[in-house]
Structures are given as structure tokens and as C-alpha cells.
């Protein structure tokens, strides 16, 4: 495609992004506002303060680290389970894959409440309550069915000629899987990783049921709860915490997105 002038597309893109991110802006706005003005509806923080950030910095940083470990751990567990099985479902055409697909959909519909209650009992027996590995595994149950379905979907559409060619050359299933299928699925892998990261990052149900006693080893979604008393909610520090939590991850996301855009199509099609 030839490069025409695209500044107007950029302009539209910026406007759309601004509309989409308005609630995010509002969060930032409130995070700089004193409590007495948070409901005044000023478009910029007129009643400016940095106290909310002081409060957030003083108490919330450990939770950020914990959240990061949990979210990354969840990505790894999800991929370890989902990648090989998607290969089996999409490329190896394992028998009963329709049943499996069907069960995956059902799995996603089990109410989170029921899942959490079930896990509590098992985790209590295994001494996994209030531990990071426990929470990572629990969080991964949100992402695994999704990851399998998405990866299977994309692997099914993969050019079979590549795989058949490799098999004729005598490559083992493992080689085909690691050398051909995984590199070709890079785009989808990044997408599923993003979502499993985000789900683990924002999970509250599992964290509150399975990791309440985790102390500093609790995720940020629980840390924010420290600002919620029985009768009093400190929105300023909560918003400040949410800003602190989202800025580094937002940068991470944008970088990941750039990476996807950069090379994948070229890699997939030119080979």
C-alpha cells in the first residue's frame, strides 16, 4: 500500500481515544482532588492536593508488586495449559474436540461465586489459602477456556501446507508445535496473554475469597479495599492507587500492542 497523507486519520483516532478514555481522565482528575470537592464535578482538579498520592504511595506499593507477579504467573499457567491443548484440538484433530469445546463454554458460565466457594474448600484442605500460587491457579481458570478457544480458532485457520511439509520432512509433533505452530501464533498468543494478564490484574472475587489473609501478599484490588471502611470510602486515595496501578501497566500494554502490529503479518505470510 502506498503511503498517503494520513494525518486526518490520526486526528480522528485521537478524538476517539479521548472519548473512550474520558472515565480514565476522570479517575486522574479525582485523584488530585480533595475529598470535599470530589462530587463538585469540576473538569480539572480545582481543589488540588497531592495527599491522595502520598497515602497511596505509603501503603499500596507492595500490592502493586504482588499484582504483577500474580498477573504474569497467570499468563504463564494459562499458556502452558492452553497452547498444547489448542494444538491438539486444532491441528491434531483430537477426538471429542466438539465435546471439549462445548465444555469450555460451560466452564466459563459457572458463576464466579460457585467457583470461589469450591476453591475455598479445596484450598483450605491443601493449605493453599492466602498463597500466591493458589491465587494464580484460581485466576487462571478465568482465562484458560478463553485462551483455548481463541488459540484453537486461530490455529484452525493456519496454512496446513506448512505443517504437512514439515511432517513430510520427518519432524516430530513436538518440533512442529514448537518450531512452526507457536511462532505462527505469536499474534494470538500476545492477545490471549494480554487478556489473561488483565483478568488476573482486575480479579477481586478470588482474591477476596482466597487471599484475604495474605497481608502484603495481596493484589492491588484488595489493597484498594483498605480505603473502604464500613461507613467511609476514601475515593481520593483509591483513585490515586488506581492511577498508580494503571500507568505502568498501560505503558506495558501499549508496548505489547506495538510489538504485535510491527511484525506479525509479515512473518506469517511471507514465509
Amino acid at each position: 500500500m502506498q503511503h498517503r497523507s494520513t494525518w486526518w486519520k490520526t486526528a480522528i483516532g485521537i478524538v476517539l481515544t479521548l472519548i473512550m478514555l474520558f472515565p480514565v481522565y476522570w479517575m486522574i482528575n479525582i485523584s488530585f482532588t480533595q475529598r470535599r470537592s470530589i462530587r463538585s464535578g469540576d473538569l480539572v482538579p480545582m481543589d488540588f492536593t497531592l495527599d491522595n498520592y502520598t497515602a497511596a504511595f505509603n501503603s499500596q506499593l507492595p500490592y502493586l508488586g504482588t499484582s504483577l507477579i500474580i498477573a504474569l504467573g497467570c499468563v504463564i499457567v494459562t499458556l502452558l495449559i492452553a497452547l498444547p491443548s489448542s494444538y491438539a484440538l486444532a491441528i491434531l484433530h483430537i477426538k471429542g474436540r466438539k465435546t471439549l469445546n462445548f465444555l469450555l463454554i460451560v466452564a466459563q458460565m459457572i458463576p464466579a461465586v460457585v467457583m470461589a466457594l469450591g476453591f475455598y474448600q479445596i484450598f483450605s484442605d491443601l493449605n493453599l489459602l492466602d498463597t500466591l500460587p493458589g491465587l494464580i491457579v484460581a485466576d487462571s481458570t478465568i482465562a484458560v477456556p478463553f485462551a483455548v478457544m481463541l488459540l484453537t480458532g486461530f490455529m484452525t485457520g493456519m496454512p496446513r501446507s506448512l505443517i504437512e511439509a514439515a511432517q513430510i520432512d520427518g519432524a516430530s509433533q513436538w518440533t512442529v508445535f514448537t518450531r512452526i505452530v507457536i511462532p505462527l501464533s505469536r499474534n494470538t498468543i500476545v492477545t490471549t496473554s494480554l487478556f489473561s494478564f488483565l483478568w488476573a490484574w482486575s480479579d477481586f472475587m478470588f482474591a477476596s475469597t482466597l487471599d484475604s489473609g495474605g497481608g502484603k501478599m495481596r493484589p492491588i484490588t484488595m489493597g484498594i479495599y483498605d480505603f473502604i471502611g464500613s461507613q467511609n470510602q476514601e475515593w481520593g486515595p483509591m483513585m490515586a492507587t488506581a492511577v498508580l496501578a494503571s500507568v505502568p501497566t498501560a505503558l506495558l500494554l501499549i508496548v505489547a500492542q506495538k510489538y504485535v502490529a510491527a511484525g506479525v503479518t509479515a512473518g506469517a505470510i511471507k514465509d
Partner: protein, 307 residues
């Protein structure tokens, strides 16, 4: 478990080496599902067939009721109202999330300056804890001083009492569409990325304009991705609790089957009484609705493969 037996190899038949490999590759998932999903699922169904209260939950002496609780739940007028609201919530959310997400995906697929960064920024709403984004929407839709009403005022429109019982369904739908756009955008965008660019070149040569190219090439080729996006969107919207709960506590028309189950399971609605069994019944009904949709999906997928 009957489900594993259906796809476990029959001992009488010879198993090909590839089948063994397939089983090997699928084994982690199969084990994972048996361990993590089967027991909660069984527990859910079992709870719906017993009379569980907070006390019988603790003592483990819940009496067997068979389908009584199902009959009770289905015979309340609330059930049908809630079902109707749930369907409106799900259908409208999905229609708008998908079409806006698709339009944005096509737009961002044009690789203009900053497109990758802006597309990444669209995911940022997902980084906000639901507690935060729900509250911000609640404030923005405040009847007296909310920004949405202020904006309407700029265009000379009357303020709307968004969170009032009979309008709250629209309020939560709008917030939920906002929440769902990033998901649709990202998945549809990666679908677009997998479409061979040469096809467009060829179409361009054939004199197709952008609109024709979209309907003749992009949309048909995107069909598998569309199907999976709609299916997942359906499932996730059906089970949405957070955003509704934080904005309205599921009061008035904004109550859906999912929030209803949540309030009964935790005793967080108007009533503090825990109704585990009723919640499980609604949970099971939700699973059945999803199953129906899944069957449609698999049927459509089968047709797609036949072609």
C-alpha cells in the same frame, strides 16, 4: 465422569501414534478441567437440588428438594422480568460492542501514524479495577450534577435521571458497552491482521471501493473470528455483575440473572438473607442459556467447516 469417557479412546480400537500425541498435548487441559471445573459445577447443581440456607450450608444437613427450588424460582414474576431485562442487556450490549469494536478495528487496521499506540490506549479502561470504573460511571450519570447530563444540556436536551429504577437498565447498558469495546476491538483487530493483504490488492485492482472491499472480503473472512467474539461476548455479558452492582446494586430494571444470583448468594441485595439454593438455580439456568448459545455456535461452526 461421563464427559471424559466420551472422548477417551475405546480400548478395543487400535490407537494411531498421532492420536497418542493428541492426547498427550490435550492432557494438561483435560486434567485441568476435571480438577477445576467439574467439582464447582457438580456443587452448583447439587446446591440447586437441596435447600441450602446459611445454617444448612454450615451444618451440611440441607434437605433434598429435587426440582422444588427450580419451580419456586421460575414461578415468581421477578424471574420473568429479570430474564427479559437480562436479554435486553445482553443483546444491546453485544450489538453495540461488536459493531463499534469492528468499526474501530477496521479503522485502526489502516496503520496510520500513532495507530498502534492509540489502539493500545483503548485497552486502558480494562486496567481500572471495576470498583473504580463503576463508581466513575455512577458519578457521570448522576441525575443532578453528572457530566452526561451536563453534556446533554449543551445540546439543549433535558437531563435524564439515569439511575432511576425504570431507566437504570439503559445506564448500565451504556457503561457495559464502554467496558466491552476494548475486548471486541482487540480480538477483531488480530483477526484482521491474519487476513492476507494480497486479497485487498487484488480487489483494488478490480476496482472495488473501500466499502465494497469491507463487505466482500473483510467481513466474510472475519466470520470465524466474529463468531468466537460474539460467543465470548455473549458469555461474558451474561455473567456480568461488577459494573451493574457498583452502579445500582442491581436495583430496578438493572437487575439481571447474574446480579440476582449474586445478591442471593451473598445476601447483598435488599435482603441480607442468603439463598444459596435459589442462587444456584439461577446459576444453572444461566449455564443452560449459555449451552443453548454454544450449540448454535457449534452448529454454525460445523456448517462453516463443511464448506
Amino acid at each position: 465422569m461421563s464427559t471424559t469417557q466420551t472422548h477417551a479412546p475405546k480400548p478395543a480400537k487400535r490407537i494411531k501414534p498421532t492420536t497418542w500425541a493428541a492426547i498427550g498435548f490435550a492432557a494438561p487441559l483435560i486434567i485441568y478441567m476435571l480438577v477445576f471445573y467439574v467439582s464447582p459445577l457438580v456443587q452448583n447443581i447439587s446446591m440447586s437440588l437441596h435447600r441450602y440456607t446459611r445454617r444448612t450450608f454450615v451444618t451440611g444437613e440441607a434437605p433434598w428438594t429435587g426440582l422444588d427450588v427450580y419451580k419456586e424460582v421460575v414461578s415468581t414474576p421477578e424471574f420473568w422480568t429479570t430474564l427479559r431485562q437480562t436479554l435486553i442487556f445482553v443483546v444491546l450490549s453485544i450489538v453495540f460492542q461488536y459493531s463499534i469494536g469492528l468499526a474501530l478495528a477496521v479503522f485502526f487496521n489502516q496503520n496510520f501514524k500513532l495507530s498502534a499506540g492509540l489502539r493500545g490506549a483503548f485497552l486502558v479502561p480494562w486496567l481500572l479495577p471495576p470498583m473504580i470504573s463503576g463508581t466513575i460511571w455512577q458519578w457521570m450519570m448522576d441525575a443532578d450534577s453528572g457530566l452526561v447530563n451536563n453534556l446533554l444540556g449543551v445540546f439543549g436536551l433535558d437531563p435524564v435521571w439515569w439511575l432511576q429504577a425504570d431507566k437504570s437498565l439503559w445506564a448500565v447498558i451504556i457503561a457495559n458497552i464502554w467496558l466491552g469495546i476494548p475486548f471486541n476491538l482487540v480480538i477483531l483487530y488480530s483477526g484482521l491482521q491474519n487476513i492476507n493483504g494480497d486479497l485487498y490488492e487484488a480487489a483494488s485492482l478490480d476496482g472495488c471501493n473501500a466499502w465494497q472491499r469491507f463487505w466482500k472480503i473483510t467481513f466474510p473472512l472475519l466470520k470465524p473470528v466474529t463468531m468466537i467474539t460474539l460467543l465470548l461476548g455473549f458469555v461474558y455479558t451474561l455473567r456480568t455483575v461488577d459494573i451493574i452492582w457498583i452502579m445500582t446494586k442491581g436495583t430496578g430494571t438493572s437487575r439481571t440473572l447474574a446480579t440476582w444470583a449474586y445478591e442471593m448468594a451473598f445476601g447483598k441485595g435488599t435482603s441480607a438473607t442468603i439463598k444459596y439454593s435459589e442462587a444456584s438455580v439461577v446459576g444453572t439456568i444461566l449455564i443452560l442459556v449459555a449451552l443453548a448459545f454454544a450449540l448454535i455456535y457449534l452448529w454454525a461452526q460445523g456448517k462453516e467447516e463443511e464448506r
